[in-house]
Subunit: 202 residues, 2 copies
DNA sequence: ATTAAAAGAATGATTGATCATTCGTACGGT
DNA sequence: ACCGTACGAATGATCAATCATTCTTTTAAT
């Protein structure tokens, strides 16, 4: 009755692959239809599998969307962490790399997604919980970046700046979702000014 | 056969009232369910009228949502114009009033709406056209505010700053939509720093 | 002023499509 | 022979939109 270790591993790997396959398909559907308009039958068609089979890997549609949202946030945080890790102690360098990297993080694909999930989070607590969690991680990353530069400031002053950066980071994402960014360079310059205003130890 | 002028006026007034009534109901539904999940029957119930009757005043559901979106944007622009009109020529004063006013403009109700419509605009051209139009008006208002302060700068430099302010203004709205703003004062201070960075004639 | 006729306002059951989810069935590896 | 994998038709709910119908208001003629 007991399955071999190899069999278990193969099964787990297949499950993972299937789930990823479903999430990829769901992403494609949500991208053009939105969370609510994306139907299970179309997701199934996109994934190249049957409708019923999807329910073997996810409890229901909402579970798929939540998993998709989480996967997207994780990917976003991965990029942010990379910026945070490579940050130095020179204000100019931080401002410059941060604004440039953030701008390049924006593609309309990711942005449209974030927008979709944020809208859902505005009314569905399961999604807003996810947003709260990723906000928390994002704040930590931002604090790690600016704290070395603003050593003299009070905890409260730093928190205020972290919060501002968080909102600005998010807003860029959302902006990119609505329409193609015309001139990344110009926008990066503009945000460099804004970031410098927030980060500079005045 | 020709109706009296008084009758026409009364009819027009009633039409206006009915349309507003429908839009109010639609707003309430979209607020808690989103554009797609909001059903005509629930909108009708909220409006206190029959489903069929709604179709006397709007061609279809999308037309209602577009009208609702437009009404919301118009209201938003009204507030922005008020800020723009009262702006002086002193940088500090501009930065201070602008950041404070913008923050106070945010209530989670309006924000959740904007979020919803932005998400829709990311895939529906009819909505994105609306966004493009309101962006245009918003840019004009922002340019009117900062141009007197940045007289020496090139057209390109000013455009870059206008664009940055536009994105920042929008992002605040989105942020407010996702969750309640904890400390408006702190956020206003943070954005004052950012705005000063963008607006200051360096 | 009264009233019959016409127009407009409002209803809600109905239609056909689509939705998320379930279930009976079949295939294929072990 | 067994069991996990996979299918897709079936189910019942819900959707946007329509339409036959009933009220209500307005108009025109007396």
């Amino acid at each position: 009755m007991v399955r071999t270790a190899a069999a278990v591993m193969r099964q787990e790997e297949r499950t993972g692959r299937r789930q990823a396959q479903i999430l990829d398909a769901a992403r494609a559907c949500v991208r053009v239809e939105g969370i609510h308009a994306a139907s299970m039958s179309r997701v199934a068609a996109e994934a190249g599998m049957s409708v019923g089979h999807i329910y073997q890997y996810f409890e229901n549609k909402e579970a798929i969307m939540l998993a998709l949202c989480e996967r997207d946030f994780d990917d976003f945080m991965l990029h942010i962490m990379k910026i945070s890790d490579s940050a130095g102690r020179d204000v100019d360098a931080i401002v410059q790399t941060f604004s440039k990297e953030i701008i390049w993080l924006l593609d309309s694909d990711r942005a449209a997604f974030t927008l979709e999930f944020m809208a859902e989070a505005a009314r569905n607590p399961k999604f807003s919980d996810l947003v709260v969690r990723v906000d928390h991680r994002l704040r930590s990353a931002l604090r790690a970046i600016i704290e070395p530069v603003l050593e003299g400031l009070s905890r409260r002053e730093i928190d205020m700046r972290v919060e501002t950066l968080l909102v600005m980071t998010r807003c860029l994402t959302v902006h990119a979702g609505t329409r193609p960014i015309g001139d990344r360079g110009a926008l990066a310059s503009g945000f460099e000014l804004a970031f410098r205003g927030v980060i500079s130890p005045s």
